[in-house]
Symmetry: C2
Subunit: 149 residues, 2 copies
DNA sequence: CTTGATGCAAAGGATTTGCACAAAT
DNA sequence: ATTTGTGCAAATCCTTTGCATCAAG
């Protein structure tokens, strides 16, 4: 993970951002988590280190603008997850409406189907597609089983 | 449109909601618009009639819970569009990042592709998919042409 | 009449900003 | 030394709520 940290640090240094300890810490949070985090979640994880909520928001903003993390809006909340290094350039988010958990759905066939769909849309509607957000809602495996029992 | 108005009114009456003039007016707004409207947009269209912003929010909430309108979260905003009568049970939203306009992309092949994807996800991931949101971002035809000139 | 809806003002929650101070380069 | 980042408090924006009053059934 340290090499990933320094790659991200290099990106930010290249844009004249200063590498403060707050920023390094928040970068580590995203590198070390496979979850979709809300700003408040990040804050909970770093406030013990004296990092303030505005700094969390400001850092998230920088990471987002530099394609290091990705923003996903679901309902009234905004979530962030690592984008760089994730390998999943295109993937679907699944939100369980029972437990609230969000996880990524990511397989090759699906990515190809999505690419097909977007290129169809581009030619049929004469638009240029630059990004794509897909969120499925439903019941996850765990919660399905709980209901049955 | 009047028959549609009364169909919606029947649905609400059936659930013991009172059909106030405010609610009728807001229903007409959604029936008469093909746009994705934010609460504030609706308010702008009805405030001249003395309808308050809280009433807009409360009415939108009722219409949403009763599947008459659909909620779409994009970025920091929530938009609403008519769902009942729309015919498009499953469709893609396209947001132009240049002009900000949102429109629906809706064709048969696409719907079938999306159904395919969701049933694949259901069997591969053992989840139950109940709803789906897909938003494409990019540049719409109009804005593409403006850029060229 | 009785219940539910409305406007107003105020409260909430999430996010952003101004500013004086602190840390990084 | 200079620039940029930070915490704090306050401001903003969007949305919701309490309550006295009003309208629909």
């Amino acid at each position: 993970m340290n090499s990933k940290v320094s790659m991200i640090e290099d990106i930010l240094r290249g844009k004249n951002f200063k590498l403060t300890s707050s920023r390094k810490e928040i970068i580590r949070i995203f590198l070390g988590s496979d979850k979709h985090l809300k700003p408040e979640d990040v804050y909970e994880l770093v406030k013990a280190k004296g990092i303030s909520l505005p700094t969390v928001y400001r850092t998230i903003d920088i990471l987002k603008r530099n394609q290091i993390i990705e923003e996903i809006s679901i309902g009234k909340h905004r979530y962030y997850e690592l984008k760089i290094f994730s390998g999943k350039k295109l993937h679907i988010h699944f939100k369980c409406d029972v437990c609230g958990e969000i996880f990524d759905i990511d397989d090759q066939k699906l990515v190809m189907d999505l690419i097909d769909i977007t290129s169809n849309v581009e030619s049929e509607y004469k638009v240029e597609v630059e990004d794509l957000l897909m969120v499925l809602h439903g019941v996850c495996e765990k919660c399905k089983n709980k209901t049955i029992i």
